[in-house]
Each structure stands twice: as structure tokens, then as C-alpha cells.
């Protein structure tokens, strides 16, 4: 995990479907695709936001005291580990 808050939530830039989409005359269907892609991006951005918010809510709670105590008990002295 990186210490910075970089997250790889954005999809790869390449979009094979879009590149290959053609209408009956063989022309790229860019117009319709653009709106769909835009809607898709908005939803994906919201998904990324929700995902991180959900996760950060827990991260912000820090280390629960009983878990910190456990780790210290297990690592601070020679008698801690069974």
C-alpha cells in the first residue's frame, strides 16, 4: 500500500468497444457512445467516492485499544507469546 492517497479506481483509458462500435454503414457510433460513456464515468466516479468513504470511515477509527494492547503484549516481552 502506498502511503499517499493514490487510488487506482479509474478505468483504463482504452475502450475497445467504443473503438470498434460501428453503425450499419460502418461509421463509428461516437455520438451515442459518448453519452453512455459519460454516464458511466459519472457513476464510476461515485462508486470510487463511496468505496473510499466507506473504507476511510473505518480507517479513521484508528487502532482499537484492545488490539493495540494485544500487539504490545505480544511484542514487548519474552513471556508474551505462548
Amino acid at each position: 500500500m502506498k502511503s499517499g492517497k493514490t487510488v487506482n479506481i479509474e478505468p483504463p483509458a482504452t475502450n475497445v468497444d467504443q473503438a470498434e462500435a460501428r453503425d450499419a454503414m460502418g461509421r463509428p457510433i461516437a455520438q451515442r457512445k459518448n453519452s453512455e460513456v459519460r454516464l458511466g464515468r459519472e457513476i464510476q466516479a461515485r462508486i470510487g467516492q463511496q468505496l473510499r468513504a466507506m473504507y476511510e470511515d473505518v480507517v479513521k477509527q484508528g487502532v482499537p485499544p484492545h488490539i493495540e494492547a494485544l500487539v504490545r503484549r505480544l511484542t514487548d516481552n519474552d513471556d508474551g507469546v505462548a
Partner: protein, 183 residues
């Protein structure tokens, strides 16, 4: 056991994120904390197998994930959060995202196959690289990428269908976008 305090601090520093991952896997706080404790017991018992200087979070996440796979996953995932403790824990949820929307998101996330959910969380929330996520899950990088993509697509479908008014662009924007092809 005497342990280099620097290593111990690395372990402690990872705990908050480890808990967040555990909760996303278990869907239940108490079980997640049990899982985290068991993970730390195992990790510290085998701390000699950790190479100083390598990725501590990835090492701990791998142990937790394997533990979850081998034991916890058998028990039923409690999506419903019957006692409300999960919701209670998340009361600090940012205000810009509505309560209803957030609940819908959580429900949709719970509907994903577990391999897709864990891949999405590792990459999209924990901030691991695809390579680290692949190492944690013991699979190829391409597999992780494909799981993340499928997870995102499935989530978008679930949320677009279930929460048109609550999720994403407001209705007016959506109507414009849905009428695309004529603009």
C-alpha cells in the same frame, strides 16, 4: 518475543486499514475484529518470515485474506447488519453522500462475488497497486484487473437500476444523457 519496535510500529500502522478490509470482507464488525486479532497473532508468531524493508501492509493483508478464505468465509456473511453495529460505526459518513445512497451502495457491494469485491476494495479503497493486489490474492495481475472491471460494471448496473434517483447524476441530467444520440 522481542521485536524491533520499528517492525511493531509498521504492524500497528497497518491495523486501521486492515480492519477496514476485514469489515468489507466479513460485513460484520465483531467478526472483522476477531479476524484482525487472529491475523495479528499469526503474523507475530511468524514475524521471522517477514522480510524487513518489504511491504508490511501487503504481507498482513495476505495473511488476513488467507485466514478469511480458509475459515471465516464458511460462516454466513451478515449483509443485513442485524444489530446495526456496522451502521453505528459508520455514523461519521461524509455528509455530501446521502444516507440512503450509502446504504444502497453497501447493499450493491454485498451482492458482488467475493473475489470481485475483494479485488475492487484492495485496488479502489486500500490503494494497493494491481501487482500488490494480485500478490495478496495469489492470482495473476490480469485476473485482478478483470475482477476489478467486472466489479465496477456490475456495481454500476446494480446502482443504475436500483437507485436512479439517489445515485449518480440527478434525474434531469440523467434524462439528458439517456436521450443521447440526438444532441
Amino acid at each position: 518475543m522481542k521485536l524491533d519496535p520499528a517492525i511493531r510500529d509498521q504492524v500497528l500502522t497497518t491495523v486501521p486499514s486492515l480492519r477496514a478490509f476485514a469489515i468489507s470482507l466479513c460485513g460484520n464488525i465483531d467478526r472483522a475484529d476477531d479476524l484482525v486479532q487472529e491475523t495479528l497473532l499469526r503474523a507475530l508468531a511468524h514475524i521471522d518470515s517477514f522480510e524487513p524493508g518489504t511491504n508490511m501492509p501487503a504481507w498482513l493483508f495476505t495473511i488476513l485474506r488467507n485466514l478469511f478464505r480458509s475459515e471465516y468465509r464458511k460462516r454466513r456473511r451478515e449483509v443485513e447488519d442485524a444489530d446495526g453495529r456496522y451502521a453505528e460505526t459508520l455514523k461519521s459518513h461524509p455528509e455530501q453522500t446521502g444516507r440512503v445512497e450509502f446504504e444502497e451502495f453497501r447493499t450493491a457491494l454485498a451482492k458482488l462475488p467475493s473475489d470481485q469485491r475483494e479485488a475492487l476494495i484492495l485496488v479502489g479503497a486500500s490503494g494497493f497497486s494491481y501487482e500488490d493486489a494480485a500478490a495478496i490474492c495469489g492470482c495473476a495481475v490480469g485476473t485482478i484487473k478483470s475482477r476489478v472491471n467486472r466489479a465496477r460494471t456490475r456495481l454500476a448496473d446494480l446502482l443504475a437500476i436500483d437507485g436512479v434517483d439517489d445515485f449518480g447524476p440527478d434525474r434531469a441530467t440523467r434524462a439528458v444523457l439517456a436521450g443521447g444520440g440526438r444532441t
